[in-house]
Symmetry: C2
DNA sequence: GTCTATATCGGGATAGAC
DNA sequence: GTCTATCCCGATATAGAC
């Protein structure tokens, strides 16, 4: 069962890396979680680093091109694109609610490890077409004039930050993780409405 | 020079923890950064854990009550409060641009360590007065009706996320850290304007 | 208070039996 | 392919001289 074991390992690694971060994760714990032993981990992945990269790119490769396509589409106005982007991005975040904080964490710790791999894969999102379109539609008076960089950053922030700040939120707002996920489910529509309101001319 | 050495250590620790995270940080590197040796670290702080907590609370204790006061003030309307909050919060973030990602990272890794200490200090921010006020002013028609939770989360997200997502942003938008900080400086006013626009009735 | 030297241990990685 | 046993480095923490 080579393929199964490998996938079991990947799933276990995803969970442990997510909870503990790269440096905090233990190969032993990943092995336990997968129901195997450390030796076998190194049989499938030659190092902790290789295992981490495998986990990361499994998600990244699936999501990045799709989001890129949404923002680069022709013949779709920006408000529609923003709606599609928020829907899809939040969907991914909800499906992997603990992973993004891990990625953020690793990027801050050792930006080169992930970033050089991302560059190698050549699948870096390209926001330029979307930024240009924002300016165009603003000049046409379809939306309020605003700094496109700041807006792009804000859309991602509104979606992603709650997931990285989840432990604090759960503390301050006194809620369980289940409540948090429901709040995020409702948040999709809230963000779309809020951005749309903010862009009214 | 006991006091000086202690502060030098705290500053060095802040920098190294910030760059590497708790698990990734090395006591040796902190000692090097401070221009002393490992033994002396343990003279002032009995463990790595104690050192980390000291660094965290130096910042947290200074900022948390102040932000709390802004949001709880009487006789100030919500839009003004939001402006003050954004200004002050962004100021702190700009002053410690690498620290929040570290805190987020640690909270996700081991929520209990920091959270139990925060509870012990008794200085947890209390958003309830602000949330109530949001609903009141919405009913009075001063601002658009909206989910107060979602709005509160969004204000914090708009300020904080760029700092945790900085490495990715610098990659995608192809900028240096200096450019990033200037972008954040301008962002203060942008956020205030955007939230205000989004809350127009 | 500050240093050097060292005890101790945890964890990534490897060797080799089955 | 999967397991056990072990190597060995690196990092926290301590002991003790100055």
């Amino acid at each position: 069962m080579e393929k199964d074991t490998k996938n079991i390992i990947l799933a276990a690694a995803k969970e442990v890396f997510t909870k503990k971060g790269f440096a905090g994760a233990r190969m032993q714990e990943i092995a336990d979680q997968a129901g195997i032993n450390k030796g076998l981990l190194h049989y499938y992945f030659k190092s902790k680093n290789a295992l981490f990269n495998a986990v990361f790119f499994e998600i990244f490769d699936a999501v990045s091109p799709e989001l890129n396509d949404i923002l680069s589409a022709k013949d779709t106005d920006v408000l529609t694109k923003i709606g599609q982007f928020v829907d899809r991005y939040m969907e991914v975040l909800l499906k992997n609610p603990f992973f993004i904080s891990h990625v953020v964490c690793e990027l801050n710790r050792d930006p080169n490890r992930l970033i050089s791999s991302m560059l190698k894969g050549g699948k870096i999102p390209n926001p330029v077409p979307f930024l240009v379109q924002l300016q165009q539609e603003a000049q046409e008076g379809k939306i309020k004039e605003t700094d496109p960089f700041q807006l792009m950053i804000s859309i991602v922030s509104l979606c992603a930050f709650p997931f990285v700040g989840r432990p604090v939120m759960e503390l301050i707002l006194d809620m369980e993780t289940q409540d948090f996920l429901e709040l995020m489910e409702r948040r999709k529509d809230w963000i779309k409405q809020f951005v749309q309101d903010g862009l009214r001319p």
